[in-house]
């Protein structure tokens, strides 16, 4: 069966994108924060959040390949369609980073050359490009923007190395998204088990690469906004967030498609299984969120605790609110077996914690870049706009191939899943 990207859906998503565009123009013109930081951090939040959903999808897909799992085979095309947004998401991220490199915005404080040099030539202070020097020479004075802590991180946090890393992450991830999609379509044509067994090895290579780069990319793109601060489990925290966001989206999307009659081969057991994932990964996220918070709260070391002081002072309701929603709703509502098979429960919890995890990304970025909670039309509108773009891309790639894979060795087994 082919999925049809209906005209109605196209119009809906286009309207969402137009709302997003209006929000961007309106937001950019009314945003009076330093260097339009509020606008750019919204672009980064939405760019990263939806990129992370498709990256989480790619991770989940390769996890299925590497473990040779059969139960998700009937949902494989849906997961693949979600991963195909990764190119668009990567483009948005590159725009944000390029603007940062060109000093159009100031999300990444460390991209400013001034913080790395102890001295500055007195005659050039106040000009567009002050001349910084590392040694006291004739005509130089002490640079008041010099930041010894950031300078100490300069071996890692410098622009050339940042760009090399970023391009490697994005390039390899996009390549694998393209590669696995191509092989999946190839399997439909050719059949046999050769592609299946090879996929296992390629997926393992991806997972090893992803294990390292999911952490380092989170440091580079998100943790470096709060440049002074560091946390060793930050990468896993971001990773668990992207995984659970993907699981929620998969649950909601599958339920929607099944309601439309596109998935006659998906039974309650499949829904139960992905519901379990949503439940379990919510706990992983909570565990990492809380571990990071509690250790820093307990030790109370000034250089670490500033991160939370700002979040608690400026964003108290949001900060504790998302913790409770993203933890309490899945725990209380999804604990029993029957609830994971009840569509109504899954949709209710799914929508709530989907927004909760968007707010989680908001809480990672905004306190370091804007500093206080400005929440208005720009935030909501840009979220809707990017949602439209994301759904448009996903629907479009889903309609490009049959919605059920052919010739996968585990297809029959997956159809008869019974738990």
């Amino acid at each position: 069966m082919e999925f049809v990207f209906s005209k109605k859906a196209k119009i809906t998503f286009s309207i969402l994108m137009i709302i997003g565009l209006i929000a961007m123009i309106y937001g950019y013109s009314t945003d009076h924060s330093h260097h339009h930081n509020r606008f750019w951090s919204n672009l980064l939040i939405n760019g990263f959040f939806f990129f992370a959903i498709s990256l989480g999808g790619l991770f989940f897909l390769t996890l299925q390949y590497a473990t040779e799992a059969s139960y998700m085979v009937v949902l494989k095309r849906i997961i693949e369609a979600i991963t195909q947004y990764i190119y668009v998401g990567a483009a948005v991220l590159i725009i944000v980073f390029l603007a940062g490199s060109m000093h159009i915005h100031h999300l990444y404080h460390w991209m400013d050359n001034a913080v790395y040099h102890e001295y500055v030539m007195e005659s050039t202070i106040g000009s567009d490009h002050p001349e910084y020097v590392d040694e006291m020479v004739e005509g130089a004075v002490v640079n008041e923007h010099y930041d010894a802590i950031i300078d100490g991180k300069s071996a890692y946090l410098n622009q050339p190395f940042f760009w090399i890393r970023t391009l490697i992450y994005l390039g390899v991830w996009c390549f694998f998204a393209y590669f696995f999609r191509k092989r999946s379509l190839m399997e439909d044509e050719l059949g046999g088990t050769k592609i299946h067994f090879k996929n296992m090895g390629y997926a393992a290579i991806f997972l090893v690469f992803f294990a390292v780069t999911s952490s380092t990319s989170a440091w580079d793109w998100i943790m470096s906004i709060d440049t002074h601060w560091f946390s060793t489990l930050f990468g896993w925290y971001v990773f668990s967030g992207m995984w659970v966001s993907f699981m929620i989206f998969l649950v909601l999307f599958t339920i929607w498609l099944r309601g439309r009659g596109y998935l006659p081969f998906v039974n309650d057991s499949h829904i139960h299984d992905i519901g379990k994932w949503m439940f379990a990964i919510s706990f992983l996220w909570t565990y990492l969120w809380f571990s990071q918070f509690m250790l820093i709260w307990y030790s109370d070391i000034p250089e670490e605790v500033t991160y939370y002081i700002q979040r608690i002072q400026e964003f108290k309701l949001l900060f504790f609110g998302i913790f409770f929603t993203n933890f309490a709703f899945p725990m209380v509502i999804l604990m029993s077996r029957d609830a994971k098979r009840a569509i109504g429960y899954l949709i209710f919890v799914g929508v709530l914690i989907f927004i909760g995890h968007w707010l989680d990304v908001y809480m990672m970025i905004t306190p370091g870049s804007v500093g206080h909670a400005d929440f208005g039309f720009m935030e909501v509108g840009m979220f809707l706009g990017f949602l439209g773009l994301f759904l448009f891309t996903v629907f479009n790639s889903l309609s490009k191939a049959p919605i059920l894979v052919k010739n996968h060795p585990f297809l029959e087994e997956s159809k008869h899943l019974h738990i």
């Binding site: 809380f290 918070f293 509690m294 709260w297 307990y298 030790s299 109370d300 604990m335 029993s336 077996r337 019974h418």
Partner: protein
């Protein structure tokens, strides 16, 4: 006639499941099935009700959580307030992040132990209690179905015939 019990042995769980389905569709009541491992899908066929162990587990967990929070409240706030890292300790909520790991662990401890004990008690499989399975080989590689002719209106001979035709390898009446 003293109550006799029919024990039908099978050497494959799928055969037993199919046989049980056939028998129950004729209205036969199967008292019990002995198996070395859980047979997928047998419960609704032979009329075993869904377990209430999960509800017990929830209650034990809740008990553990309450006990842990109350205990730490009493030890650390009321009875002997301790100054740890200069944290204020006048009220419970000021220290709650530090108590969460312990509350969690105690919840899990109570739920796990409570459920294990309940399970053993309910099945009456505590140390020193004689095993109730009729044949020791049901803990190895055979499956046994237990049927009481007194439960059913079908004659014993017909039952035996049905069992044999559906793949039982040995039938004993005792």
């Amino acid at each position: 006639m003293a109550d006799k019990i029919i024990y039908a042995t099978f050497d494959d769980d799928h055969v037993l499941l199919e046989s049980a389905k056939k028998l129950t569709s004729k209205g036969v009541h199967i008292r019990d099935v002995f198996s070395p491992f859980p047979i997928h899908g047998i419960d609704p066929v032979i009329g075993v009700k869904q377990t209430r162990l999960a509800i017990c587990g929830f209650i034990y967990g809740l008990t553990g959580l309450t006990l842990a929070v109350f205990g730490m409240y009493y030890f650390m706030i009321v009875d002997w307030p301790m100054n740890i890292g200069g944290k204020p300790n006048d009220f419970l909520y000021q220290n709650i992040p530090a108590f969460i790991p312990i509350s969690f662990e105690f919840t899990v401890l109570m739920a796990a132990h409570g459920m294990a004990l309940t399970f053993f008690l309910r099945n009456w499989t505590l140390p020193g209690i004689k095993a109730r399975n009729p044949y020791p080989y049901t803990t190895d590689d055979k499956f046994v179905m237990e049927i009481h002719p007194s439960d059913n209106h079908i004659s014993t001979d017909e039952l035996m015939e049905d069992l044999k035709s559906t793949g039982s390898i040995a039938i004993e009446e005792r």
